[in-house]
Symmetry: C2
Subunit: 242 residues, 2 copies
Amino acid sequence: MTTKCKNCPLRSLPLFKPFSPADERFMEKFKIGEIRVNPGTQILREGTSSPKLYTVLSGMGLRHKVTEDGNRQVVGFALPGDFLGLEAGIVGEMRHSVEATTDMVLCVFGSSALWSLFRETPSRAFALTQVAVREEILLAEVLTVLGQKSAIARVAWALRRFYDRLNAMELSSNGRVPMPYRQQDMAEGLGLSLVHTNKTLSTLRADGVAIWEKGWLSIPDPDALDRLAGISREPLEERPLI
Amino acid sequence: MTTKCKNCPLRSLPLFKPFSPADERFMEKFKIGEIRVNPGTQILREGTSSPKLYTVLSGMGLRHKVTEDGNRQVVGFALPGDFLGLEAGIVGEMRHSVEATTDMVLCVFGSSALWSLFRETPSRAFALTQVAVREEILLAEVLTVLGQKSAIARVAWALRRFYDRLNAMELSSNGRVPMPYRQQDMAEGLGLSLVHTNKTLSTLRADGVAIWEKGWLSIPDPDALDRLAGISREPLEERPLI
DNA sequence: CGATTACTTGAGGCCTGTCAATGATGGTGG
DNA sequence: CCACCATCATTGACAGGCCTCAAGTAATCG
């Protein structure tokens, strides 16, 4: 049984921009259904096209690219509210893969409807472009962190950003947020080795700055974490939901 | 005197997708004029909005972000055909700066017309989204290079990509392309120190693989360069011109 | 001709990667 | 229920790629 857009659990979060009635009507038409995937499922694969587009309703995933020599680069995370498959829909094929880390529920759209979206609903088309531009902005920020920051600053930055984002999703409980990824995933996202990432996390834990263990992240000393990250934390902005 | 879109020198390049008559009509309306800027000119500034959008007609520039501690990260280059100011137009403010490296000529558009673009010309709106998604793809690729590759591979990759792109612009002459940037710019784009970048370039030059000096780049041994870069070079795809 | 900017080269050290081994945890099948 | 296996986290030792510091050359410009 699929949820009506009107009752979408994400809609009520302040993180997301409100829908206009026209937006809502279009999204109802656009929506095909919902699916549920298990950890490890490949949702989209680099180099392939896709007849479907997705919005994450719950659960978490990973976006990554694979280099010729077999190395993996994590280029982002897939969290509730994120839109997946834009590359396939807009330029014809995915340039990165998306895989589920936890159980996930995805809202499914038909990519053939993208054209009618642009033709019939300019406000939705604008929202879609906003999503693309925001991802571009995020990637440029990550790039800056990889290019300019030390290992400890990178890790501190990543933990901080993750914590804020999940808090905005209201997924925190008892001052901690779920963090179901492996240390290896974070290492591959930050351009560090697994071993060094582990040691850096140990340091943060021993210093009582940030504690990530057993799938949960808590931040006893946010100020210290910010100082280590060395980047002014930008407040999360309202973003469109697709 | 400003050029009519119909006579735009970029239009004829195979790198760019053709305009439909409707596209052309809209762009004529959208276009305000042209400006010419000198080396060093700040075209767009991080953190500010902009009432103008630009397409590079000629010349080269640099996109960069500045971190809290004053370091600079080059997040891209601005080459003929590139669209500047999308962030300001779509999310309200630039998240990186753009500055001219050489003399440049820019085609100027009013950003207030963006809305009517989405309302009146879906095909142009789609093209705009394609531009955004392509930049996102490029950034993810750069991220992968910074995250996974050694200094020599990064430099080799960057030179190769630059060479191909400028070739597609038909800016090469005598087997070399203009490369007006400083070594420092490349260092800041690849997350390397200036000194190490310099030594890496020296190696490539001494080995007769790639020679960048006095503002020109030539590649005597493209295969060796590709091997060093360790990434299968993707052919440049046709892209929309805005 | 001094000042400025960019490029070049050498020396030394640290941050981070690699290698290797051990624990911890959970799932599976006999 | 336990042995076995796979996956992930942890820790130590060591080496090396890259950064920093420093100084010198070359080219451009007023």
